[in-house]
């Protein structure tokens, strides 16, 4: 599906192009968020020394697959960006719906971020010593997921 869209990039209209760009951007953010979250989980799991259970191997496999797919997404985003020159300056979408979606995404991400920051601030350090070591990574992950998941939900096909 994505490959077909990529082939016809030059002939599609601007709103469609923006739609594709937004969707890929959201997918990339989702993967980046998942990667950071997984990184933190990986460290916590490694702390418990559960290598015998095979969990670490599975995580590593998902990790590598995610990184390869991220590379592909970044490439396609760059290709999109060459076509969408307006986005580089202001990053405002000319299509109303795309603009609405990206704004909703930012709202949810910020709400998520504030919530997580307060949780980390309020919960005493003794209980979450391992978590607080990876706090920026987890924060980043939740910020990215809070942006990506509402955006992807709003951009489903039946929502158009």
């Amino acid at each position: 599906m994505n490959r077909v869209k990529n082939m016809t990039t030059k002939t599609v209209s601007l709103p469609q192009l923006e739609y594709t760009h937004l969707k890929r951007n959201a997918l990339l953010t989702l993967l980046v968020g998942a990667l950071f979250l997984m990184d933190a989980i990986y460290k916590i799991v490694a702390h418990f020394d559960m290598s015998a259970s095979g969990l670490v191997d599975t995580l590593t496999f998902i990790f590598v697959a995610c990184i390869i797919y991220c590379g592909y997404l970044v490439l396609s985003l760059v290709v999109d960006g060459l076509n969408l020159k307006g986005l580089k300056k202001e990053r405002d979408f000319s299509d109303e719906y795309s603009l609405h979606v990206i704004r909703k995404g930012h709202e949810y991400a910020l709400a998520c971020g504030v919530f997580i920051a307060f949780v980390f601030y309020l919960v005493p350090d003794d209980y979450v010593a391992m978590l607080s070591e990876n706090m920026p990574a987890i924060f980043l992950a939740f910020l990215a997921l809070g942006y990506a998941i509402p955006t992807l939900i709003l951009l489903r096909e039946d929502h158009e």
């Binding site: 990053r91 990206i102 704004r103 930012h106 709202e107 991400a109 910020l110 971020g113 504030v114 920051a117 307060f118 980390f120 601030y121 350090d125 607080s132 070591e133 706090m135 920026p136 990574a137 924060f139 980043l140 910020l143 990215a144 942006y147």
Partner: protein
């Protein structure tokens, strides 16, 4: 000037009320973030034995707390006027809606950058116990400052 506008709250039109609300909200967020920055800096300063510095610090933080309470009262006094803006962040006026969401965007990007930098720092030997303990506060205040300061800039008299 501000006192006059506060007296007239009851006869305001919706865009005027929203303008005031957005402005006060931005101020509230900036002061809140200053409050948290001071909370973080206080721990750093408690090891320094300098009386003048401490007295100055206490005066400034007292001022910030009084200001916080005062601006909180003024924001909540407008809340009944601008219900959708207060609860959901949806402004009826197009321009204020645009500014609000633009500030969200800035805040989102700054939060990503800040947490990424902190994550990079936490792996190295630059890190100090102070930085580890106050990561949540630092990220939260970065998020708030980058929401409030651009809004205050855009809502100056000259920009209207």
């Amino acid at each position: 000037m501000n006192k006059d506008t506060n007296m007239e709250t009851k006869e305001l039109t919706t865009p005027q009320a929203e303008h005031l609300f957005l402005k006060r909200n931005a101020l509230l967020v900036v002061i809140l973030s200053l409050f948290y920055v001071f909370m973080a800096v206080y721990e750093l300063l408690s090891s320094v034995d300098n009386l003048a510095l401490r007295v100055g610090f206490w005066i400034v933080s007292l001022f910030i707390i009084v200001d916080l309470i005062w601006i909180l009262i003024r924001v909540s006094s407008l809340a009944s006027k601008v219900k959708s803006a207060f609860w959901f962040g949806n402004y009826e006026d197009e321009f204020f809606n645009h500014l609000n969401h633009k500030a969200y965007k800035y805040s989102f990007n700054m939060a990503i950058i800040a947490s990424f930098l902190l994550m990079m720092l936490s792996d190295n030997s630059f890190t100090t116990p102070w930085l580890d303990e106050n990561t949540a506060l630092i990220i939260f205040s970065t998020l708030c400052l980058s929401y409030g300061v651009p809004l205050l800039f855009w809502l100056r008299k000259g920009n209207e």
